[in-house]
């Protein structure tokens, strides 16, 4: 069933789809990079399902960090950021990596410095909701988590952890059951 222009995205994030569709325009003459950037940016601002944008999915320290990428199918040029700290506009920073550098992926605090140099505002990404999620996780003995072959036993205890030294004592403590679902996904 062919029909162009078109927009498709994972999950029922219809406002993001609508935004990208609007940027492409009825005649389909809008920029596809602008469409993807603005569609995903809207999701970041709306914190789609808590899985996109600030204030969601805190790490073990309670910090929210963001990953994003944008890719041009004609040139295979890519801009991306990983573990971006303290900047809300992850895909727009990725767009700046694409447009203003010859690199592909910037990460962590250095990606934050890059973003600030490109004019983005540094902000705290923590919200009351992310603080509550983190607190609840700690009160539940830090369960679930992603550690294995460490001591104390990560399936019952919080860290700090140390690696298990003896091969005999090593055990794969990570459950084979997936921890990813409709509200916890990459």
């Amino acid at each position: 069933d062919t029909s162009l222009p078109m927009v498709i995205n994972t999950w029922a994030f219809t406002n993001a789809t609508e935004k990208a569709w609007e940027v492409l325009g009825e005649a389909g003459t809008g920029s596809v990079l602008d469409a993807v950037e603005q569609g995903c940016s809207l999701c970041e601002r709306e914190q789609c399902d808590g899985t996109v944008g600030y204030g969601g999915r805190p790490d073990e320290n309670g910090e929210t960090t963001l990953d994003a990428m944008i890719m041009d199918g004609a040139t295979h040029d890519v801009g991306a950021v990983g573990a971006l700290r303290g900047i809300k506009d992850a895909i727009s920073v990725a767009r700046r990596v694409l447009e203003n550098t010859e690199h592909t992926l910037l990460v962590g605090s250095q990606a934050t410095q890059f973003a600030i140099s490109m004019g983005f505002k540094a902000e705290n990404l923590t919200t009351e909701s992310s603080i509550e999620k983190h607190q609840s996780w700690k009160e539940n003995d830090c369960q679930p988590n992603y550690w294995k072959n460490v001591t104390p036993d990560p399936s019952t205890s919080c860290g700090p952890y140390e690696p298990v030294q003896s091969e005999l004592k090593k055990r794969k403590s990570r459950s084979s059951e997936s921890r990813f679902d409709k509200l916890n996904h990459d």
């Binding site: 162009l4 003459t29 990428m69 199918g73």
Partner: protein, 137 residues
Amino acid sequence: TIGMIAIDGIGRIAGGTSTNGAINKIPGRVGDSPIPGSGCYVDAKVGGAAATGDGDVMMRLLPALVAVNSMRAGMTPTFAAQQSLERILEYYPDFSGAVVAVAIDGRYGAACRGFSSFSYSVANDKLGGVKVIEIKC
């Protein structure tokens, strides 16, 4: 996570992803979303794909790239999406995730595993704008 692909009226294509990742991750962890070929991949000669689910697994098996290459070999978007998940399931049978795929002419499809169902959003003229499509996994 959102993974998005846009194609304009003359076949220009772009893709992107944005996420805050897995909850309670070890600080410093990065998932599949910023890795080309994993969370998303687009090729103007073929089409594009975007994946969602367990990023630690997906970044090892590049489902978006696999789906695009399957379309390059002649598969429909739906079969290409299924094929990319099959590749993951060979190594990670408990994997939960989904892939959406779109050919450069606008044909699209999706596949999912591990969820009861998976919803994705599409907009084109034939649909009259934005429509949510739900598939059983």
